[in-house]
Each structure stands twice: as C-alpha cells, then as structure tokens.
Symmetry: C2
Subunit: 431 residues, 2 copies
C-alpha cells in the first residue's frame, strides 16, 4: 500500500497522467508535478482546476526539477513523501529517476524504454542495455519498478499475456497493431516529441520471428489490416519497446509491431531521413555553427500539444493473437479504440497522450492498492493483467475483444475463468 | 582596351571562369583569384595547371579577400593592376565589389543579381532595388559594368535581343526555358549553392505579362516543352533575374522564365518548404540555439562541386521567341546544349557551372578588346549580341537556332544581315 505521487515531466503524457491522478486522488493522495520548466507544471495544474478533475482534498503542487540530477530527485521524493514516482519525462531520464527510486524506496513507473541521446537503436533486447541491469538492485531494495506501462508498451503487453491465458493453449504469433486514424489538420506533425518519434524509425527495425531477432529496414515490410472502427489500414513493421520484453517473457515464437502510416507521413519522413535531417549527429554550417539536424527539425514542427484542440478521429491499438485452443486454430484481437475529441473534452489532450497517460495511472493505483506492488522490477506481461484491464475499463480506456464470437467489451474476469493456466501472477509467484 | 583580370569567388562558376581566363590569357593578361578561403583559390590554380589550361605566359595568383570589405577589394584591384573584375562570389557581395570597381575604374562583371541575406524576393524590377541605383555613378566614373552575364541571366538576354533584331518585326513573347536533363546520381542535390538555389523558389514568382508584373506562386504554372536533344520536358514558371531588365529594355509584352524540375525535386522542395526548413529566418531549438534552417539544409546537402565527376547528361537553355515578320507569325528557338561529362573533361566542372562561367569570360574578353567596353552600367540585352554569341561559339558554348527552316548552329553574322534594325549596339549609341 503506497500513497502520494510524484509525476516527473510536464509534456502531453504527464498532462493526462496528472488529470487522471487528480481524478483518483482519494486513493493516490497528494499529487506533485516536477519538470525543468516550472511554468509547464503550473499550466497542468491550471488545466486540472479548469476541468474540475480533482476528486478529493489533497495537495496538487508544481516543482522545478532537473531529473538528471539524482540527488535533487531523491530530495524531492523525500520532501514530498511520494511513495510512487511516475516518470513520464524524456526517455533520456529513466535511469537517473530509477536510481533515485531505488535509493529512496519509492515505486517507479515509466512508459518508454531508456534512451541514450547519442545512440539510436541499440542491440536487442533493448531493456538489457539499461533497465534490466538494475533488476537485482530493485529486488534487493524491495522496490517496485514497472517498466513501460503506457499503452504501447504497456497495455499491449497485458493484452498479449491476457490473450495467452484466456483464449489459447498455444500461441504462435502476437501482432501488435497501432493505428492512429485521427487527423490533426496540419501539413505535418508528430503526435509526441518529434525527436523521440523520429528516433524510433531511423535505424534497424527489430522484430521477433521464429524465436529470434530479425532485422529489417523501416518501411520495408507492410501489411493491410482490417480493424474495428478504423477499417482497412496499412501498417508497417516497426521496432518497438514491448518486443524486447515480451520476446523474453512469453515464450511466443513470433511477436511483431506494426504502426500505421499514411503515404504523406512516409514521404516527409523519407525526404528528411534521406537528406540526413533526422540525424542525431551534429553538422557544421558554412558559418561554423555546430547543430544537430534533428533538433532543428523539431524546432520547426508544431508542438505536439498544440494539435489537441483541432484533432479529430480515433486510434485503434491492439494485439492480434493467433494460436490453437483444444487443437483448433484460433484468432483473437484484443484492442482499445480512443477518440481524439473526447480525450480533449475530458482532459485537454489528444488520444495519443490519453492512451499513454491513463495506463500508467492505473498501474500507480494498483501499486497504491497493493495488487501490483510486487517489490521488484517487472515488465507488464509479468503481472496479472486482469485487475489492470478491469481498472482501465472503469477509468477511461475500455478494452474490447474481437474473435469468432464477435466484438464485445473485454470484461477480464468474465472472459478468463479461474481455470486459465496462469491465474496466479508470474511476478507474485517469483517474489 | 583593358587587361588583367581579378576573379572574386572560388566556387563552381569561378572555377570555370578561371580556366577560361587562363585559356585566353594572351588577350586577358594576368589572372588573379580571390576568396575568403585561400585554399579554394589554390585548388583552382592546381586544377588549371593539371588540365594545362594556361595558354600564354602571365601571372596566375591566389589571394585571400573578404569582398564585403570595399577598402580591401580596392587595394587588391590596385596591387594586382586588374582592369577587369569578374565577380562570381556570393550574390550578397555585388554592391561591395561594384563600389570598389567604381572607385578604382576597373570594369565590373557579375552573373547574378544582388541579394540582401535577410530579404527573399523583393519588389520588381529587382535591379531597381540595388544595381540600377549606381547607374549614374558608373556613367560619371566611365566604368563599364555588365550585369548578369552568365548564361541565365546573360546569354538568354543576348538571345532575346538577337532574335528580335534578326528574325522579327514585332515580338509578342519571349519564353526563356532552362532544362537540366542531367543526372547527378545522388538522392538530392542542388547544382549551385543550396542557399541561393532555394531562395529563388521560396517566394513570389514574378513574370512579365501583358506589359506588367504578374505574381504567381512557385510550381503554380507549368508547361510541357518539346526541345532539341533533351526532348519533352515539363518546366515551371519561375522568378528569375533577367526578366527584371529585359522587361524594361526590350519593349516585349510577355517575358517569362521556365525552369525544368523533376517530380522528385519538387517533392523534396515542397516538403522542406512546407515544414519551414527553407526559411532564412532563425529558429530556436529546445536547447536555446539560434539557427537559420536553410543553413542547416545547406550543411546536410552534397557540396555542388562534388557532383561533377559523376554527372551525366545535358542541359538545354534557350529563348523561345514568338512574333511576326512581314505580317506572318513566326516562332524561333535560340539555344545552347551543354554536356555535363564533356564540361568535366575540359575544366573539371559540371555543365551548370560551365554555362555560367564561359559567358562572363567572353564578356571580359569583349571588354579587353574594347567591343563591349561601354563605360557605363548595362544589362546584356543593351549590348550588341553578335560579337558575344560569335565569341562563345569559338570558346566552348555553341549557340543554335531552331525555326521553320530547321535546326542549325547560330552564326550571328550570317543570320543577322546588316539591314537588321539595330546593328548598332544600344549602349554604344547612348555613350
């Protein structure tokens, strides 16, 4: 049982997480928001007040923090009494914030894998390069650290685990499909920090096939999917965080990630990438100025948070799982559909931020409740997915399932009877 | 009669001009090359020596010069004894170099209109904003200043004037068509300084139609032309220097400039332009660095001079002139075809640099001879085109003509008998 939350970061996902924490502060206690830019924290608090998101009494406070500074982060954790840290700042911060948590005993949550600013796309599994090196330290300190608990990674890991438990004897493949069928009504924009967004696509695409890592180039492989609500969409094989833990934890031979891109996005991306404008390595202008091209591209693109007011349409993200049950082939799609306009109406953000911000708060609530307070480092698929999916159904992200029996809301306890093979969470058994 | 040449600039056009001056140094005397970067001047001299371009004895010397510094430029003109200055540096330098010429009495030549780094596409006629304000000063000092005497502007101005004189009683339209049908075998590159190249296309396209300025957007109007050697090509209405003097000097109601672009060039241009990456106005990165996006684009693109070794194919640039002769409608295309590979073989440059560098040296030779040493500021169409076209035929750029009688080499004295209405050069009559 833990209380009081420190949110690190004040971007789009932090905005949603702060709203959701405030909506659930009777359970979570005080809510603190810390960022290098204090004014962005204040803006989030003003938005929470304007929307009337805060449910019960309790602190709602802004702090200036450079979260690369472990000592300062530890001091803030201690002074706020935060027992849960939600790290939704830049992925460059993960290891610093995690260290501060290990050294103070606070629970740690994030939504994206750690990145080194100077490296793009390291050797798989990516978690092995940074986070997993701290597993023993977490276990020794009894610190709960749940890695990558946004939507993807995060909810899609839980969907994969849930589908395996509930619907299959043997799973052959999990295809995670991420479609944003929304329209931001700009010439071009990324839905989150352009620097982080583009870094996902500028190097080797790793996927897990036939129980080994397979390398492809971005936009080399595509597939047309026919999905609920958003219809027929083309998605491209993309490297993504969740493959790097699910491949290790689930024993499934094929796990792939497919992201939907329109032709216009691909064209702009290809032009910028081919010219070298997405490089994280500095170039020198004729005038002698050293500058990282990707940072200039970021500077000219719209601020992702500016897109929300006019964003329309829906996202559809889910896991298409194929395998066998009782000797018969079976195919199940577990998914969520989120509406940009409704997200904006509720918390002032578009659906991309909303789908990443709600799950991390659901996870924080499960830690506060003790259900997911496992006292060690885990990826989401190592935890019982049922309370997570059930809680999200109640706080804003409703999961659904499509299979031979049709489409329906996914009630995890109704769909997965107690006899399913791993009703006991992995992480709790290994504790 | 003037001797000794100072070339200012050490880019692609300067490289060709220096080779051509060396090939004709028996007439031109000493050849001096000056640039901010001394090593680039030395590289040109090394290339001249390697190719054996120098015809007669005489100096061939490199100088370090910031040509924005008028006093330094004057001192160099005096110390070298240069009576002819070929300014083929950045178009940002024109007014400084011209001032140095006016104050020393040296003849002045350039190949592109003056630009202010902070302004893109000023009010037409562009020459009125800078150069023409010095007409009186040139006349008073008796200084010959020939503006824009590369290929376009330059040769195309002479073609327009020649066609009017030789083939028509009345001209209705001159369409200048510039097609580079070459292939540099790179993903994307500009054929000269990307900064200057893109500045041409990022604002209003001015053309001269029905005897007035008409504004269009870049890529708004296109036309398919069927040209000698290069065949059918799509070209786009483009703003260009020569329109801004020919409209004033020729009395022709329609003068337009069309530049050929492939779909790939247009796509890359549009992406960069729509994103704001071609802007000359600085932006600030998240890290607080102030940087001009266009200068970063320039930094990531190939150096135009690096393209020459693998460049293949041909350019075709000319004037399609329509009007009447003896009451009958007539149409004549006066043009040049230049081969990238042959240019490289001769002087180590591609055809874009070659077609700009040869004419300015032909003009210098006509000044040295006295034929074009008019003691005032002129644009090319104000001068007798016949000696210019005739000389270029002998030194590397052969002009051709296509009309109802077929295609043939343009021998200006054979094509334009003495009875043609302006066998006396305009500029000489006004002297």
């Amino acid at each position: 049982m833990k209380r009081n939350v420190l949110i690190i970061g004040a971007g789009g996902v932090a905005h949603v997480a702060a709203h959701k924490c405030a909506q659930n502060n009777i359970l979570l206690g005080d809510i603190h928001i810390a960022s290098r830019t204090l004014s962005k924290c204040h803006a989030i608090i003003a938005s929470i007040k304007a929307k009337g998101s805060q449910r019960g009494p309790g602190l709602l406070k802004a702090h200036e923090l450079d979260a690369m500074d472990v000592a300062a982060t530890k001091a803030l954790i201690r002074s706020t009494g935060a027992q849960i840290v939600i790290n939704v700042g830049s992925p460059f911060l993960n290891m610093s914030v995690m260290t501060a948590c290990i050294e103070t005993g606070a629970a740690y949550l994030d939504t994206a894998i750690h990145e080194d600013p100077s490296q793009v796309c390291e050797a798989p599994p990516w978690y092995g390069n940074y986070e997993w090196k701290r597993r023993d330290a977490c276990l020794k300190a009894g610190v709960t650290a749940i890695l990558g608990v946004g939507f993807d990674p995060g909810v899609v890991n839980a969907y994969g685990r849930f589908a395996m438990d509930a619907y299959f004897d043997k799973v052959d493949s999990i295809d995670i499909i991420d479609i944003n069928a929304g329209n931001h009504n700009r010439y071009f924009a990324t839905n989150f920090d352009p620097e982080i967004n583009f870094r996902e696509f500028t190097s080797t695409v790793w996927s897990w096939e036939d129980s080994q890592w397979k390398a492809n180039a971005m936009f080399e492989r595509k597939h047309d999917w026919d999905l609920p609500v958003v219809g027929k969409r083309t998605a491209y094989l993309t490297g993504h965080d969740e493959l790097h833990s699910m491949s290790k934890n689930l024993g499934v031979p094929n796990i792939r990630f497919w992201m939907g891109f329109g032709e216009h996005y691909i064209n702009v991306f290809n032009v910028l990438n081919n010219l070298g404008l997405l490089s994280e390595k500095p170039v020198r202008t004729a005038e002698g100025l050293e500058v990282v091209p990707l940072k200039v591209v970021k500077a000219v693109l719209p601020d992702p948070s500016s897109l929300a007011p006019t964003y329309t349409g829906k996202t559809c993200i889910g896991d298409l799982v194929k395998g066998t049950k009782n000797g018969q082939p079976r195919e199940v799609f577990v998914y969520n559909v989120c509406d940009h306009k409704e997200s904006y109406k509720e918390v002032g953000s578009q659906a991309i931020s909303y789908t990443a911000g709600v799950p991390v708060v659901a996870a924080a609530m499960l830690i506060a409740d003790g259900v997911w307070d496992v006292g060690q480092m885990v990826n989401v698929e190592e935890l019982d997915p049922k309370p997570f999916i059930g809680l999200m159904n109640r706080i804003g992200l409703v999961s659904r399932v499509r299979d031979a029996a049709g489409e329906r809301v996914l009630d995890p306890y109704a769909e997965a009877p107690a006899k399913s093979r791993s009703s006991t969470p992995v992480a709790e058994t290994t504790r």
